[in-house]
């Protein structure tokens, strides 16, 4: 069975002036449909690069990225936009809602780019907002909502188009721990419903919410396995201690 997300020796090299930075060094991994995976690592580990590539916002310098069996690396900008629109649902740390639109319109944006007719769009967006418990605030502006509620809107926005992958980039980073837990519970719930969820975080305590952890360090995969295995966290603790000792 082919994986939903498959990295084959994916590298990403940035040129910063004269220096070259290897952000991802021949990373290979497979994520199956329906999995809940955390990609975890400290800043500079390459997790953001991975997320950009998985999210089709960027293409690898070398190696192959197959999304649902299609080679993303050979796509042009328009094809990438279309893939993002149809296959991916983004949840950002800063919610990234459009402040001038009400939350219903916000959720409709990806559907609009997909060409869904107005009435249908309305219906889908409303259903998604009801699912995250905001069915009574459709006409509110994002600024009228709390952080947790805004993050729920962005979950609804990611969900509305029924994407193949839900990509959550530090979704709890801007929230207090209680609302953060609510958001994680919601991701768990989506996973239980059969969605593929990829969570990108630097925080081990959040990463363990997923059933599988892929740990990155300096652009390399240093752990890929179940989140309840002792090494998943122990390795991390060791390394964190080491980092403190430096």
């Amino acid at each position: 069975m082919s994986a939903l997300i498959e990295f084959q020796k994916v590298s990403k090299i940035y040129k910063m002036g004269d220096a070259t930075v290897v952000a991802a060094n021949e990373i290979s991994m497979r994520i199956q449909k329906g999995e809940f995976v955390s990609i975890v690592g400290s800043s500079g580990s390459g997790k953001s690069t991975c997320m950009n590539i998985i999210g089709c916002l960027d293409v690898p310098t070398s190696g192959t990225y197959l999304l649902d069996g299609r080679d993303v690396g050979s796509m042009n900008k328009n094809e990438l936009a279309e893939i993002r629109n149809k296959m991916l649902g983004f949840i950002f740390q800063q919610y990234n809602l459009l402040p001038k639109l009400n939350i219903l319109e916000n959720v409709e944006v990806p559907l609009m780019y997909r060409g869904v007719p107005r009435a249908k769009r309305h219906e889908l967006a409303k259903a998604a907002l009801e699912k995250v418990g905001l069915g009574d605030k459709l006409r509110h502006r994002p600024s009228q909502l709390s952080g947790g509620q805004q993050q729920r809107v962005s979950i609804a926005r990611a969900l509305a188009g029924d994407p193949a992958v839900i990509l959550a980039d530090e979704p709890t980073g801007a929230l207090d721990s209680r609302t953060g837990r609510e958001v994680l519970a919601m991701l768990q719930e989506l996973h239980n419903q059969g969605h593929t969820v990829v969570l990108i975080t630097h925080d081990n305590s959040i990463a363990v919410e997923a059933e599988r952890i892929i740990r990155l360090e300096d652009g390399n995969v240093v752990y890929d396995g179940p989140s309840d295995a002792p090494e998943a966290v122990v390795t991390a603790r060791k390394r964190e201690k080491g980092a403190v000792g430096q």
Partner: protein, 398 residues
């Protein structure tokens, strides 16, 4: 994404920043307004001149004879009348005209602005003047060099209390009897105007001022044959004088034409200058759109991550610029019309006759089209900048 959605989006963005949008539009508003008012004034001026000329008679030709220095070769009044008779398929009436200087005196009061002209019996027909009371100048008056005159409405009303026929006045010291009064040609006859005039027989006038008769006003049967009529006269006069410098034939319709084309050139130049402010307005829109793209970098990043293709972002910003600009154009049109109406009133009361400042529909449509076009043109650069933003950088822009 449909184009109508892009419009809705543009309007939403414009609504949320009214003040900025208004200030952005200001250049376009002023430009369109200026173009409309200037074109309107030009049209008004052109109409006014046309009307003034047709009241003088655009079907008239004026012949001026300067003669050949001391040469005895000349054209007599009778020759001129014959000439018109012979070419009656083109020419209709003729009247010699003699300007008399020396001023008019009524009851010992000297009138400095009153014009005195010696004319033939058909002169009033040529000029479309109507005799309100009494009679016009007759052939008998001319033949016998009588001291009679026809006066304009201004003199009649001001000096003779409206019943001037039978009264007398003096021209160049000689006493003339008023035999007729003309109808007023304007609603408010005034000093120095067409109604402040004295007409006497040309023969009397020539003797009075001691000159030969060297100016004629001739009417054409039809204005459509203006150039042919002129040519006929010129040919005949050339035959008499053998030298084209000794006379000139001026056609009123030709003068009107050259006058109108001069006004048009003037209007084009002025409208061109006003259009520069449209250009400046367009640059203002481009400037604000560039700022707007920078401000909305994050929004653009979000939209791209949600699947907006470059074309959609490009469309969104171009349409926003075009809508802003077209809205400014519409406001400019409304204000331009308002100002035109005010200008009409002011100009009419200033010159004492009807003067309409009307730019006409085509100029308005053009102004609107240009303003929308400017939006597209100057919106393109910022829109392309927005469309080409890297989504990752845009998402992390603060």
């Amino acid at each position: 994404m449909k184009i109508t959605e892009a419009f809705t989006l543009a309007l939403k963005n414009i609504r949320t920043s009214k003040m900025r949008t208004f200030l952005t539009m200001l250049g376009i508003i002023i430009g369109v307004m200026a173009v409309i008012v200037i074109v309107g004034l030009g049209n008004g001026l052109s109409n006014y001149v046309t009307e003034s000329f047709s009241s003088l008679g655009t079907n008239t030709l004026t012949v001026s004879v300067s003669g050949r220095g001391s040469s005895t070769r000349n054209v007599s009044v009778d020759q001129m009348y014959e000439l018109v008779d012979e070419n009656s398929e083109y020419l209709e009436y003729i009247s010699p005209t003699v300007n008399v200087s020396g001023g008019v005196r009524i009851d010992g009061e000297q009138l400095y602005y009153t014009s005195t002209t010696g004319v033939g019996e058909d002169y009033f027909k040529i000029k479309n003047y109507t005799v309100a009371s009494g009679r016009g100048i007759s052939f008998g008056d001319i033949d016998q060099r009588k001291s009679v005159c026809v006066i304009g409405a201004y003199l009649n009303d001001t000096y003779f209390g409206g019943s001037g026929v039978g009264e007398t006045l003096r021209v160049g010291g000689r006493m003339f009897t008023v035999v007729g009064v003309l109808e007023a040609s304007s609603s408010e006859p005034e000093e120095g105007g067409t109604d402040d005039a004295v007409y006497i027989p040309y023969s009397t006038a020539a003797r009075l001022s001691g000159t030969t008769i060297n100016s004629y006003t001739i009417t054409m049967r039809s204005e459509d044959y203006a150039s042919e009529s002129k040519a006929v006269l010129e040919d005949a006069l050339l035959e008499i004088f053998g030298d084209s410098d000794s006379y000139s034939v001026i056609s009123m319709s030709e003068m009107l034409e050259s006058m109108t084309s001069m006004i048009n050139v003037l209007v084009y130049v002025l409208a061109g200058i006003a259009a520069i402010s449209l250009l400046v307005g367009g640059i203002g829109i481009m400037n604000i759109m560039l700022v707007s793209v920078t401000e909305r970098t994050r929004e653009i990043g979000v939209r791209k991550s949600l699947g907006a293709k470059e074309r959609y972002i490009l469309e969104q910003f171009i349409i926003e610029a075009a809508v802003t600009s077209a809205l400014g154009g519409s406001l400019g049109i409304v204000l331009g019309y308002g100002l035109s109406a005010i200008a009409s009133t002011v100009a009419s009361s200033a010159i004492g006759s009807s003067f309409t400042v009307d730019p006409g529909l085509s100029a308005v449509m053009l102004a609107f089209g240009i303003s929308a076009g400017i939006g597209v043109l100057f919106g393109f650069l910022p829109a392309r900048k927005a469309a080409r933003l890297n989504p990752i950088e845009a998402l992390h822009f603060d």
